[in-house]
């Protein structure tokens, strides 16, 4: 089969590789109809994520048709059309049972590696380094899906791939970020980062009852999408002071909640350096946490700072005094996907949102390398790239 494989920094190669097969009884094989490139894939592309190996199959946003089932999967049948969540969860452990699916205890075969860095390991992920399990990803024609009796979400025939694909990651991620804000009627939510996750956070904040959403970025095309698609108010941080502006816009109180949908910037913090130094606990980071620091500074007293991520290591100069003085609540974490799949599918079915609005590029899987380089370099015009194994 064709698959987009990581071959080093700025080196994605489409290769012919073996088709996947059933390995464990709860596996399924899915034939992929549509897949996407995620903003976090760019961290892999830029060589900032440790424990990647040449030949790793990339991709964690995908959907398609079930073509093979392990002996223990009883709730799916061949031919079922499914979207697969990017976090792999068993459904049986302490964390899965409490809706903390991204904290699954049992889905990372390399849990020891993540433990070394974080204390305890979260769930395995598709196509996102060996520290996260090393699972082959879904920028390919076929993919092996572990715990297929828990993850894959069946999709009705009357919804097109493009309408539901983003249930695999970015829509639930944006939604959870907004939900974590504990939005009350009349609230103002400020959102840093207008990439796809930010776009979904904006839409979700309105769906959850926010009165105002203020979107912050420095890329005109992304600010434009936020304004045109969601009626967000927009601020460009390159030509104004965000603290001054947000304070003025909110009559001196500050936003009720702030979402950092920027996360780990590729520039400034390399995760491999963090990983090496984690053991000595002497790491002094200068993460580009401008967005997070701004959010802490301007969030109203008693407000909430919501962090969908991604952060990997250590922050320096973290304004904890400001956070303490103002009594802020921080909510963060990798998306608990399985909690949101069905409720968000229902929102799509009820016509409350059409997630396909973020798509700007459609490519054949063969052109994956071009997709990565465009996504990396053209922030203004390229917001979301989807790929099809066969574009007809």
């Amino acid at each position: 089969m064709k698959a987009a494989c990581w071959n080093g920094k700025h080196d994605v190669q489409v290769m012919s590789v073996p088709d996947p097969s059933i390995i464990n009884p709860r596996d399924a094989i899915v034939k992929i109809t549509t897949t996407a490139i995620c903003g976090s894939d760019l961290h892999l592309y830029d060589g900032y994520i440790p424990t990647m190996q040449k030949g790793d199959i990339l991709g964690h946003e995908f959907m398609g048709e079930v073509v093979e089932l392990g002996s223990a999967v009883k709730n799916l049948k061949k031919g079922d059309r499914v979207v697969v969540p990017f976090t792999i969860a068993c459904g049986n452990c302490f964390f899965c049972k409490r809706d903390l699916w991204s904290a699954c205890d049992n889905s990372n075969p390399n849990a020891a590696t993540a433990e070394a860095l974080y204390g305890f390991s979260g769930s395995g992920l598709f196509g996102y380094s060996h520290m996260m399990g090393g699972y082959a990803g879904g920028q390919a024609e076929y993919v092996r899906v572990p715990f297929a009796d828990v993850g894959p979400l069946p999709i009705p025939d009357d919804l097109a791939d493009e309408q539901v694909l983003f249930l695999s990651d970015i829509f639930p991620t944006g939604y959870m970020a907004a939900e974590n804000c504990n939005i009350q009627p009349g609230d103002t939510v400020a959102i840093w980062g207008c990439g796809p996750v930010g776009q979904f956070a904006i839409k979700s904040a309105f769906l959850l009852g926010a009165a105002r959403v203020i979107a912050i970025d420095d890329v005109p095309g992304r600010l434009r999408m936020a304004a045109e698609e969601s009626n967000a108010e927009t601020l460009n941080f390159s030509d104004q002071d965000i603290y001054e502006k947000l304070t003025e816009m909110t009559g001196g109180i500050g936003p009720d909640a702030c979402i950092d949908a920027v996360g780990l910037e590729a520039h400034g913090t390399t995760l491999d350096a963090i990983y090496d130094r984690a053991k000595t606990a002497l790491y002094m980071a200068t993460d580009r946490a401008h967005a997070l620091r701004q959010a802490i500074r301007v969030c109203r007293k008693g407000g909430t700072v919501s962090v969908p991520g991604v952060y990997g290591g250590f922050l320096d100069k973290f304004p904890f005094g400001a956070a303490f003085s103002k009594g802020l609540t921080f909510k963060m974490g990798q998306t608990n996907m399985h909690k949101y799949l069905r409720p968000l599918l229902k929102l799509i079915q009820d016509g409350k949102i059409d997630p396909s609005f973020v798509i700007t590029h459609r490519l054949d899987l063969k052109d994956a390398a071009k997709g990565y380089s465009t996504f990396s370099s053209d922030k203004d015009g390229c917001i979301k790239v989807i790929m099809k194994p066969e574009l007809n």
């Binding site: 390995i23 709860r26 040449k54 049992n106 020891a112 082959a136 459609r362």
Partner: protein
């Protein structure tokens, strides 16, 4: 007290000092770790030392060179976990360094570690102590390739959390090629190895399987080949759609 690593022989035929405690009592003490505590108060220092040494010999002193303790919490009842572990032939399912554990007629078991370079590492073992649904303690007997002992304890965790599983393993790495083979098998961090085995036990018990990527596809496969313009099927459509601002 003269400390030396005790061998299997010391346990099976303990040196009895000329004091009031009879060999029968010491044998009994040796087979019941908790009784031994009371027994050792009787007699002279030498008896004390020997009895204590034999009490410890049932676990720690049998094999003293490598001692590992680790624990994990599993969302299953102590009963389920105990009965799975008690059937020792199940152990290779999650203990990757084991090839097989086979029951023998006399109640003992025969263990074989995975072979490295054709060298077999094997031993017979017996369960010398167990409390149903709470604890199993085993040790190697006779001429084991590796003198070793271990125990597992199952303790109910607070409501909703399942069971604490605590494992101790002791062994003396033998000299020579067997030792070298074992070192290769277990790696430089036996503690980490045992921890990983417990993690696999948890996965097996909670999910029914062990998470793995062994056998999955990748670009590292022998027959994997990079696709270029030359080897792409001619006639494939390539379409690109650009987003345009409204």
């Amino acid at each position: 007290m003269n400390e030396r690593a005790l061998t299997q022989h010391d346990i099976d035929a303990p040196v009895t000092p000329d004091v009031s405690t009879s060999s029968g009592l010491i044998s009994k003490a040796a087979s019941h770790p908790f009784l031994a505590g009371g027994m050792i108060l009787v007699g002279a220092g030498l008896a004390y030392a020997t009895a204590k040494a034999i009490k410890n010999a049932t676990e720690e002193e049998v094999a003293r060179d490598v001692h590992v303790e680790t624990s994990i919490i599993i969302d299953k009842s102590p009963q389920e976990l105990f009965s799975f572990w008690r059937d020792f032939k199940n152990l290779p399912l999650f203990m990757k360094h084991l090839e097989s554990v086979v029951s023998m007629d006399d109640g003992r078991t025969h263990w074989a570690a995975k072979t490295i370079g054709g060298l077999k590492v094997e031993w017979d073992a017996e369960i010398y102590n167990e409390i149903e649904n709470e604890m199993i303690a085993w040790r190697s007997v006779d001429n084991a390739d590796v003198v070793n002992a271990g125990s597992v304890r199952f303790q109910a965790a607070p409501t909703g959390h399942g069971t604490y599983v605590r494992v101790t393993v002791n062994y003396n790495p033998p000299a020579g090629s067997v030792g070298a083979s074992l070192a290769k098998l277990l790696g430089s961090e036996p503690g980490q190895l045992i921890k990983e085995e417990l993690r696999r036990f948890k996965q097996l018990m909670e999910t029914g399987e062990i998470a793995t990527i062994d056998g999955q596809s990748s670009g590292r496969a022998e027959d994997a080949v990079r696709l270029t313009a030359e080897n792409i099927t001619p006639g494939d459509a390539i379409e690109e759609f650009q987003f345009e601002s409204k």
